[in-house]
Assembly symmetry: C3
Homo-oligomer: 153 residues x 3
Amino acid sequence: MTILADPATAVQLPAAEAAVLYAEVQQFYARQMQLLDLNEPQRWAGTFTEDATFDVPTLPEPVRGRSALIASTTRAHAQLAGSGEQHRHVIGMLDVRPQQDGTVHVRSYAVVYASTVGKDSRVHRVCVCEDVLVRDAGELQVAARRVTRDDLA
Amino acid sequence: MTILADPATAVQLPAAEAAVLYAEVQQFYARQMQLLDLNEPQRWAGTFTEDATFDVPTLPEPVRGRSALIASTTRAHAQLAGSGEQHRHVIGMLDVRPQQDGTVHVRSYAVVYASTVGKDSRVHRVCVCEDVLVRDAGELQVAARRVTRDDLA
Amino acid sequence: MTILADPATAVQLPAAEAAVLYAEVQQFYARQMQLLDLNEPQRWAGTFTEDATFDVPTLPEPVRGRSALIASTTRAHAQLAGSGEQHRHVIGMLDVRPQQDGTVHVRSYAVVYASTVGKDSRVHRVCVCEDVLVRDAGELQVAARRVTRDDLA
């Protein structure tokens, strides 16, 4: 899933169609990240396909499927609540590449901010997020996600 | 004004209309935040309705109306100038929800960066911004804004 | 090139056309910044016109032309690699103003994040970026860029 390496399979949409897709993708990420930060694991997992894979550098192998995603994010949120931190995930610089097979590849930056009541807010993580998006009944879903962190080798 | 809690009143626009609205809302916030950071209180206040409310956690009650907004932001900017800091307000992750009543609800993240000449730049605040947008002669305006800060309980 | 000071020359596009342009500009910056951070100097320089000018506060005079841009960014990247830092450039709050002469003026915020393996990530720079964009065979390119840094007088 090396997205930028394969521009050969990207489709050049007419500008008007590309604009509709670009807005749709931005709105998709806005809602997905807000659901994550609001600790809505079921609704958040609903933005992935049933058998989605989520590859992060801190786990030995990719998380696979919605129930595993729910379990994983519920655990992460419990830890976070214990630490008293509020996280906000902000996606930016979305490079949106519709593919010949109907999927949409997106490479973006994800900056995670952390705040604790009574203390300064700060940058927690800077990540690169590579997604394969598909449609289910018209709605975008993540079929595969790979996240890398700039502070890890 | 709990926006995410009432999806029942949100309207599902056709994708092309939703895209036009999404871009319009992004452009609106870009200009509004730049006017704030450029210290243009009158023009900034012009992006709110005449009787807009602005609810922030650091004030005992919401600011109401353009002249109060101008007074409030002029005061805040004088303090900021005294401290030698330049702030930049960056809105991201816009969840844009057009409503049946013609208003547009937007829940977004606002990250404020602070810089001082000769020192490092840093994250100053991480906020959630919930807006009710309306139209006046076609132009978007904020009718009601509620900001919460992640570093306050 | 004081963009905000001359709204007289800005064109008011119909909302649908403005939305297409807004998405196109966002996609343009996403790819341009990713190419910079991926250390692809040639492809990055290809997002500028042949004779583009790039005015930054840390150089005595603007960089002019693609080969100078390639040399300048290659030098900067070698320094960065030596320091062990990974930078990510994130453009936000894009105020997009199409002009009567067919160019597109964009004033935006650029936040640069820095990460080092094994250490915290952090805000490196907060900048204002003012661009004049033109089209070459339909594709956007930067004809002139002026960057100012909030931590410099």
